[in-house]
């Protein structure tokens, strides 16, 4: 390296010494680009020409217009300076050399430059392989080769030359060779045309990669020419054979004069498990092969591929599927028989279900069904045929069976090639099913339902298998499709193989199946519900208020239909809101009602119920209710209290009335003096006083009959007082005019002149004869005193009815000015001016005149003016 460097420098020096016309020259120089390899050192020499006025000290190097460090310089002599630097990838490559004198000078500066093109040597192609496909009946002369060019770009124009030459195994004076140039950068493949694909001859292939910095060859690929050939797959067809388990495979290969070996593979249509027939099994010259030991009436896909004898070539691709069906055979397995029993009150509706035999080996045409029913030692046999409906998953047959009837069913499937083995089933008497499995549970494994259970309690029957039945819960019970599968008796868990829709509820039942002689019998089922995927309910619960109270309310809701639940309801949440305050209560999924407490009375509440599953929630519709103003019984209590109070008051009043009936009677219906019983009726100056008339003190009471109003008010005011007053028993009788018998005469009271105007027309003046005796007491022997009475009341014929005398006799009263005042006093206005005082009975004078001191006697009876 060092020696070559010195040689180069020497050559440059000599070159420089030879002289140039310019004042400067760079070596190496080229009219084209100078290619340099990235990462290597590059040396250039700047030479001063003879006519230059500069020295080597004036020389300066610049790369991409940036001065190179001085330590990279190497002064060769007084007129030449070289520079050595490492070519970097980011170098643009414009290398200049110029001279200038640092001191003031008139010498013109000189400059010279070259352009460096950086790049890499091409990488050696690796993993060379070539391929000649079949075209027509020959292999294509176009040999397509592939290689790995490496990842490094050369940064330069690169050519890939693909060489191919025939190799005879000996030296040839004029070897036959072919080549093709591909100019794509980092080319990975190229195709060379061999004119005619050589046969039975060696072929040598290699790739030469070249750029401006050099070239490199790949490793040579020397093989027999067929080693590069890839034949097309043969045209295959499969012919059905009369033998049910075989098919004939025939093929043709359109390739000239080349011995090929074939491999056949086949599988059932739709399957990806292939069975291969080795190439040794197919004779070279043969173009047919019979596949044996196949399943009857089964579609088979057949493919073939080929290779040049002795594996000289590539394998061809597999041919396209050639499909055909094997011939029919009699069914090899029995139908899968099952039943659905729907019990009613006294009978059972039995639906027999069966699937076609798994190994039908042909088209099932019909099923022959034999049903033997036994009831009370009497047998009845039903034999029927059911046509096979290929569009249905399973066939059905329904029958009625009483609870006390046992049935045994036998069924066979028939095809054109024969009948299947017999499937049997026993339907025992009602409620005599053997024991069922225990602890049934399910889980999800890889999105599929995995069911586990424990074996049933041992009994006398032999457990032969388990039957797992499932159905999708739908709105319409009639649309429920039953599915079932069987597992062996020693298996206690399995995956349900079927299409399970997400968000749909499935009822899974496990039946133990027992063997009883030649019949099978199912035990009691154990059922559970399952989902393959849960989601939020499709609808919320429909709720309402059943009991709304003052501070509580009961919310009830209906269960969401199963087909709308989309999962197991985990809980219900009741949201209730009044104003801006919302509360919620969460209850278990078992609940269908909830009592909301601590509500505000007489308030409007908005309520909705939310149902939740593990996958989400759904709100029900909102509804409103209003709490009551009163609590339960509160109104009743009030009503009762009011009623009781009313009753009490009523009773009290009644009692009061009863006790004070006389008083009230007197108040309401004051007793009218009965003139007929008045002693005056018998009084006449001409008639002596009857001896039988008791001698009583008679006082004449002057009664003024006012208008009702005045009297009423007065009565009201002075009632208490009058009571006592009226309690006194006095006889009174009215004397009008001159005689009691005469017509009443209006008179004006002397003592009541103020009222005279009012009473002139309405007052009847009576004269009362008051006996001196009182209350049966013997009056004093004083002559009766006549008192004049003024009353408008017509005189009653009391004179003609002396029996009433007693009543009227005991009541007497007078109305004086003091009474009226007394009424006022009662109103509290002038109590001091005219107060009333009770007078003792003894002090009462028989003749009532205007006493100096107004007083009342207690009265027992009184009457009101009528």
């Amino acid at each position: 390296m060092e020696a070559s460097f010195h040689v180069l420098v020497l050559l440059m020096y000599l070159h420089c010494a030879a002289g140039f016309n310019n004042c400067l020259k760079i070596l190496p120089d080229s009219i084209d680009k100078i290619y340099v390899e990235v990462g290597t050192d590059f040396t250039a020499t700047c030479c001063l020409q003879d006519d230059s006025h500069h020295t080597s000290d004036d020389i300066e190097w610049k790369l991409d217009n940036i001065s190179l460090p001085k330590h990279l310089y190497h002064k060769i002599n007084a007129t030449a300076v070289s520079v050595t630097f490492t070519v970097s990838q980011d170098m643009r490559g414009f290398l200049t050399c110029f001279t200038s004198q640092k001191s003031l000078s008139y010498v013109n500066p000189c400059m010279y430059g070259i352009f460096l093109e950086k790049g890499y040597l091409p990488s050696k192609p690796k993993n060379l392989s070539c391929l000649a496909l079949q075209e027509g009946s020959n292999f294509s002369p176009n040999l397509r080769c592939f290689w790995n060019p490496g990842n490094r770009d050369t940064l330069l124009n690169t050519t890939y030359t693909l060489h191919a030459s025939l190799d005879y195994g000996f030296e040839q004076s004029t070897p036959t060779s072919f080549q093709h140039v591909c100019t794509e950068r980092l080319a990975r493949n190229c195709t060379v045309n061999l004119s005619t694909f050589p046969v039975h001859i060696g072929l040598r292939v290699w790739v030469t990669v070249s750029d401006a910095l050099g070239s490199v060859n790949s490793d040579e690929l020397l093989r027999e020419s067929f080693a590069f050939a890839k034949p097309n797959p043969p045209d295959v067809q499969v012919l059905a054979d009369v033998i049910y388990s075989t098919v004939m495979v025939e093929w043709k290969h359109h390739i000239s004069n080349i011995e090929l070996r074939y491999v056949i593979r086949y599988c059932q249509a739709g399957s990806s498990v292939w069975t291969e027939v080795s190439e040794e099994s197919t004779e070279i010259s043969s173009e047919s092969f019979r596949l044996q030991a196949l399943q009857p009436y089964t579609l088979y896909d057949v493919q073939m591929r080929c290779i040049v004898k002795n594996h000289q070539s590539y394998w061809s691709d597999w041919s396209r599927n050639a499909t055909n069906r094997t011939a029919e055979a009699k069914p090899a397995s029995k139908p899968d028989l099952w039943r659905i029993i729907q019990s009613t009150s006294d009978s059972r509706n039995v639906t027999l279900l069966w699937k076609a035999p798994v190994k039908a080996n042909g088209i099932i045409l019909r099923y022959d069904l034999k049903i033997t029913m036994k009831k009370d030692s009497k047998f009845k046999e039903v034999i029927t045929s059911v046509d096979h409906d290929p569009h249905r998953l399973y066939q059905t047959y329904s029958m009625e069976l009483s609870a006390k009837t046992m049935a045994s069913i036998e069924i066979i499937a028939a095809s054109s090639a024969g009948v299947s083995p017999k499937a049997t089933l026993v339907i025992p008497l009602s409620n005599q099913d053997p024991s069922g499995v225990e602890r049934l549970s399910w889980s999800l494994r890889d999105g599929q339902l995995w069911v586990e259970w424990m074996p049933p309690v041992a009994n006398l029957l032999r457990l032969s298998e388990y039957l797992l039945e499932w159905e999708k819960v739908s709105l319409d019970d009639h649309q429920r499709d039953k599915h079932w599968q069987r597992v062996k008796a020693n298996v206690n868990s399995t995956t349900l193989t079927g299409h399970f829709e997400p968000f749909k509820r499935y009822n899974i039942s496990v039946y133990p199946v027992y063997t009883l002689q030649k019949y099978t019998q199912a035990g009691r089922p154990v059922t559970t519900a399952a989902y393959t995927q849960q989601g939020p309910p499709l609808e919320g619960p429909t709720a309402n208020i059943t009991k709304s109270k003052k501070t509580s309310a009961e919310v009830k809701w209906t269960e969401i239909p199963l087909h709308r639940q989309q999962g197991f309801i985990t809980n219900y949440t009741i949201f209730y809101k009044t104003g801006n305050v919302e509360k919620s209560v969460t209850v278990n999924s078992d609940n269908r009602s909830c009592v909301l407490t601590n509500l505000t009375s007489e308030s409007e509440y908005g309520v909705h119920v939310m149902a939740s599953t593990v996958a989400g929630s759904r709100n029900g519709t909102d509804f409103n209710f209003k709490t009551q103003k009163y609590a339960d019984g509160e109104v009743e209590v009030i009503v009762v209290l009011v009623c009781l109070s009313f009753l009490f008051i009523t009773v009290f009043i009644i009692m009061l009335f009863l006790r004070k009936r006389e008083t009230i009677k007197q108040l309401l219906w004051p007793q009218v003096p009965d003139p007929s019983v008045s002693s005056i009726a018998h009084w006449s100056p001409d008639f002596p006083v009857k001896a039988n008339i008791p001698k009583e003190d008679v006082s004449v009471v002057e009664v003024d009959v006012f208008d009702g109003k005045s009297l009423c008010e007065e009565d009201k005011a002075v009632l208490p007082l009058k009571k006592d007053k009226y309690m006194s028993e006095e006889h009174s009788s009215g004397i009008g005019g001159s005689s009691c018998m005469s017509s009443p005469r209006h008179s004006v009271s002397d003592s009541d002149e103020g009222d005279s105007g009012q009473t002139t027309t309405s007052t009847v003046q009576y004269s009362s004869v008051v006996a001196s005796g009182y209350k049966g007491q013997t009056p004093n022997h004083q002559p009766p005193v006549f008192a004049r009475s003024e009353s408008t009341q017509p005189l009653l014929d009391c004179e003609e009815h002396p029996e009433h005398l007693h009543d009227s006799r005991n009541s007497y009263f007078r109305r004086a000015k003091g009474v009226e005042l007394g009424g006022l006093v009662q109103e509290g206005e002038e109590s001091n001016e005219s107060s009333l005082t009770f007078c003792p009975m003894e002090e009462m004078s028989p003749i009532v005149e205007d006493p100096p001191t107004p007083c009342y006697m207690p009265q027992q009876n009184s009457y009101r003016p009528q």
Binding site: G169, V199, N257, I258
Partner: protein
């Protein structure tokens, strides 16, 4: 003693004659079996011979198929036409007494057929589109002749290193003059027929070179 000698003399002369006869016989036999020396028994020769046999067999079958295609594409009367005699077409016979001469004849004959095949191919290109199956087949056949010729040459050099290998003229003098269409079709068919016959014979000639250890 004399009697015995008298008797022995003729016995000796008879034995001497017998020895001479055996020597002469063996010499004669040896001289009539030159192929023993020409047997291709070394590995290199066996390899080339093996490749040559496969190639000639392949060419033979290919020529037969091509001839069938040729007849099919040129009319029903081709069978009769192909049996016609035509002097300018190389014969299918292999000449020579020794195996080397016969192999040399094979090589020469291959070279002789080559220009005729090219001529037929050009004629077929004129009859049909250039990519017709016969022309394509002839093109491949010419390439195969080019492939087999060096192999036969190599075998010849191995068998008789010192024997010069005659190279036929590039354009044989026996090429037919200008022909009409019928003559061209007959010419092509005859060339292919004779080539097939020749290849069949050549295969047997090469096969006779095969040593006991070489089993194809």
């Amino acid at each position: 003693m004399n009697v015995r000698n008298m008797i022995r003399l003729p016995q000796r002369s008879q034995a001497k004659h017998r020895i001479i006869f055996v020597v002469l016989f063996l010499t004669a036999v040896e001289s009539t079996q030159p192929t023993k020396q020409a047997r291709c028994e070394n590995p290199s020769c066996s390899q080339h011979l093996h490749r040559g046999l496969k190639l000639i067999k392949f060419m033979n079958v290919t020529t037969a198929q091509l001839l069938k295609t040729y007849k099919a594409s040129n009319g029903d009367s081709m069978d009769l036409i192909c049996d016609m005699q035509m002097v300018n077409v190389p014969v299918s016979t292999i000449s020579g007494q020794s195996i080397s001469e016969r192999i040399s004849s094979v090589y020469t004959r291959l070279k002789e057929f080559l220009p005729h095949l090219k001529t037929v191919m050009e004629q077929q290109k004129d009859f049909e589109p250039p990519t017709n199956p016969v022309a394509e087949g002839l093109k491949h056949l010419i390439a195969y002749v080019d492939l087999i010729s060096p192999i036969v040459n190599c075998l010849l050099q191995i068998l008789q290193p010192n024997m010069p290998i005659p190279e036929p003229a590039e354009r044989p003098t026996g090429m037919p003059p200008a022909q009409n269409t019928f003559q061209q079709k007959a010419y092509g068919c005859i060339v292919l027929s004779r080539l097939q016959e020749f290849l069949s014979k050549a295969f047997h000639e090469l096969k006779s070179l095969r040593g006991k250890d070489n089993i194809m």
